[in-house]
């Protein structure tokens, strides 16, 4: 039980003490004494105030004290609250594309999470807050294809910590994240400074192009060897070029069997026929040649950082479909004509590349690897590469003393959980009635001889 306004209970206790004193100082007729010379005593009130050793009117006194205390307790607004645990944790779990290994997230989370903790997942959009009831069975949202703002996550975590403070004596914010620079914005430092303690950092391995997921898979037509396909060869040579696996379907003109990206794996499907044009493209009546093709590498989905340019004697045989809301260009010929498009499908996108690679070593050049990386940008924008935040930048916030911050219970607790107030007031009212009855009865009784 907790009192929102304990001063009223203290005042009620003071009033009760005064009541006891008043009952000790009851005005009553003192002991009678026969004195023949009483006429020489100065005239005065027959009743005199005297201090008794024991209070008078015990029943009335008890009723009055109980009434005062009940009124004080009611005004003090008692609320019933569960016992607070010693330590509560707000677990900020990074579900952005910065996470290299999801298993690592789960391992850390399982080791840290306890019943009653709050799990906040953050990526590039709001994710549900999970209250831990079974540490082993925490269900996390899929990893996003993008990275979001760490500032938002920290502020949300501090807000959640304030809520958790009602059920825990101390609250700790644990940040389970790789912490990449792409998540660090102008407000992150200020958000970290807002937290009075140190942020406990469980740093994960950041997803980079070197991670295991960034595999380029090339589906070749039947009978076609990997060694004879320049894309396959270039991909093999480029190694890990993107955050997400790239599946390049080189199977025929219709672009293979894959239907689109998978939200679970976030792999990128690229239809890049060995010859001809992707399905839906118009075959150019007169083939021409182009010297270069440019693809833009979108970083963080916000700004164009660099362009990947492939230079060579390209033979242009197709015309890209008209661009609309579902179809947009992702690569252009040097003359500005669209060379690759991205079509939106129900759960992602499919990229179609109408570029026939010329013979030669084009696929072996570094620029080809960057071109592949540009093609591996997630459908809804995103990052293609991430840079971990330097430890020196984090040290001021991880070395600020105790990570567990003591929390007072919030006064803005739900008052509907305090049904005692009306009962206390009703009890006080009943006692007042009883006091009135007792007082009336005593007044009706003949005055006892003092």
């Amino acid at each position: 039980m907790r009192l929102l306004a304990p001063i009223f209970l203290a005042l009620a206790g003071l009033a009760a003490a005064i009541t006891v004193v008043l009952h000790l100082l009851a005005v009553r007729r003192p002991q009678e004494y026969t004195l023949p010379t009483a006429r020489f005593v100065p005239a005065g009130a027959v009743r005199a105030t005297s201090m008794a050793r024991t209070p008078t009117d015990i029943l009335l006194l008890l009723l009055r004290i109980a009434t005062l205390l009940l009124i004080g307790a009611a005004l003090a607004r008692p609320i019933l609250q569960p016992e607070r645990s010693d330590l509560g944790r707000v677990l900020l779990v990074d579900r952005s594309a910065a996470v290299a290994n999801d298993n690592e997230v789960m391992e850390r989370l399982s080791a840290l999470a306890r019943e009653g903790d709050l799990v906040l997942q953050f990526a590039d959009s709001a994710l549900p807050v999970v209250t831990v009831s079974d540490p082993a069975g925490i269900q996390l949202a899929p990893v996003s294809a993008t990275v979001g703002s760490l500032t938002t996550a920290l502020l949300s975590g501090q807000r959640a910590a304030a809520v958790l403070g009602d059920s825990a004596e101390r609250v700790e914010i644990v940040l389970i994240s790789p912490l990449v620079q792409e998540q660090w914005d102008a407000g992150t430092q200020e958000a970290l400074e807002l937290w009075p303690g140190a942020i406990r950092l469980e740093r994960l391995r950041a997803a980079t192009t070197d991670s295991a997921r960034s595999v380029v898979m090339v589906q070749l037509p039947d009978g076609e060897g990997a060694g004879s396909d320049p894309v396959a060869a270039g991909a093999a040579l480029a190694g890990k070029v993107a955050l997400f696996p790239i599946v390049i379907a080189r199977t025929g003109e219709n672009g293979g069997s894959a239907s689109g990206t998978s939200s679970a794996t976030r792999s990128i499907l690229v239809r890049w026929p060995v010859s001809g044009v992707p399905n839906g493209w118009t075959v150019r009546e007169v083939r021409d040649t182009v010297s270069a093709v440019v693809a833009y590498d979108f970083a963080s989905g916000n700004a164009v950082r660099a362009a990947s340019t492939l230079a060579g004697p390209f033979e242009r045989s197709g015309v890209a479909p008209d661009l609309d809301g579902d179809t947009r260009a992702i690569a252009w010929w040097s003359d500005g004509e669209v060379a690759a498009v991205q079509r939106s499908v129900s759960e992602g996108c499919v990229r179609e590349v109408g570029i026939a690679l010329p013979d030669g070593d084009l696929a072996l050049r570094p620029s080809f690897a960057r071109f592949l990386a540009a093609l591996s940008v997630p459908c809804d924008g995103g990052v293609a590469s991430l840079t971990p935040v330097a430890d020196s930048l984090l040290q001021p916030f991880t070395n600020r003393g105790e990570t567990a911050v003591p929390f007072e219970r919030s006064s803005a607790t739900d008052l509907s959980a305090a049904p005692l107030v009306p009962w206390l007031l009703a009890g006080a009212l009943a006692l007042l009635g009883a006091e009135w009855v007792v007082r009336r009865r005593q007044r009706g009784m003949p005055e006892a001889a003092a």
């Binding site: 026969t34 023949p36 010379t37």
Partner: protein, 298 residues
């Protein structure tokens, strides 16, 4: 066989202490019977007092013939007569004398001082009478026979102080020439009593007032009390430590005024406190000394 205890047995020490005291009258008495007090009558007793020139109407038998023969002057011989002086002891037995409750010290002292004075008077050979007004009044006529003191003691012992019967009517019953001793706390009809006493003194009588004050009246118990006058139930006053001083002042002033009034009236006035040795009080009463020295409010 039971031996009846004499009513004066319990007062033996006091009576022994006052034995031998004489209580002469302060004025010549007008009594006829021979006694111990100088009489206003100039008679034929053998105790020569003086000569006085013969005046017409004097008894020629009282002429000193020898002097007349020697000096040819007619003188008559005057001789002092002595007569008895009846003493009436008026004892207040009102409810205010039954104080303090339990010991009734005021009443006990009043009856003891009355008995002691009666004893002194009786030893002088004067008749002594007892008057105790009250619901059951006691009146013993003046007598000199033996056993009078015992009768008085018995009568006093039979009285229980109660009520608020005034004393002044009883004073009217006393003959003019008699000596009156009033033993009282003067909390009743003190005004009327003083007025009657003044008249009596003015007419040649002798009045002695003995004011009985209880020690508890001079030093009432401390703490808050509601005091009640036993003779006037309507008088109820709260006595506390705060009002105690005012009470003592008022009581002391009243006693001083009382003594001054009685002495101004020509009466004797002796104040006694219940814890005083009574034989000394008796000596103060009967001693023919300057009354201004006898007794003062405590």
């Amino acid at each position: 066989m039971t031996v009846s205890k004499s009513p004066i047995a319990s007062h033996g020490a006091l009576l022994d202490a006052v034995r031998g005291l004489r209580w002469p009258a302060t004025r010549r008495v007008s009594g006829g019977l021979p006694g111990a007090h100088r009489s206003r009558m100039r008679g034929t007793s053998s105790e020569f007092s003086e000569y006085r020139p013969y005046r017409q109407g004097d008894d020629p038998r009282r002429l000193d013939w020898k002097l007349l023969a020697r000096s040819d002057r007619a003188y008559i011989r005057l001789a002092d007569d002595h007569s008895v002086l009846a003493t009436y002891v008026l004892v207040d037995a009102s409810a205010s004398m039954a104080f303090p409750a339990g010991s009734n010290a005021k009443w006990e002292v009043a009856q003891r001082i009355a008995l002691a004075l009666c004893s002194v008077v009786h030893a002088t050979g004067d008749p002594v009478a007892l008057l105790v007004p009250g619901p059951r009044p006691v009146r013993l006529a003046p007598r000199t026979r033996s056993g009078t003191v015992s009768d008085i003691a018995r009568s006093l012992q039979s009285v229980t102080p109660d009520g608020s019967t005034p004393l002044s009517p009883s004073l009217d019953m006393v003959p003019r020439g008699a000596r009156v001793v009033i033993v009282s706390d003067f909390l009743g009809d003190a005004g009327n009593l003083l007025s009657r006493a003044r008249e009596r003194v003015a007419s040649g009588g002798e009045v002695h007032a003995i004011h009985v004050v209880a020690r508890e009246e001079l030093d009432p118990p401390r703490g808050a009390r509601l005091t009640r006058d036993p003779e006037q139930d309507s008088v109820r006053r709260p006595l506390s430590d705060a009002s105690r001083a005012a009470y003592l002042d008022a009581f002391g002033q009243w006693r001083a005024e009382l003594m001054a009034d009685w002495r101004a009236a020509g009466a004797g006035f002796t104040a006694l406190v219940t814890d005083e040795p009574l034989d000394r009080v008796v000596r103060r009463v009967v001693a023919p000394v300057d009354r201004s020295m006898s007794g003062s409010p405590t």
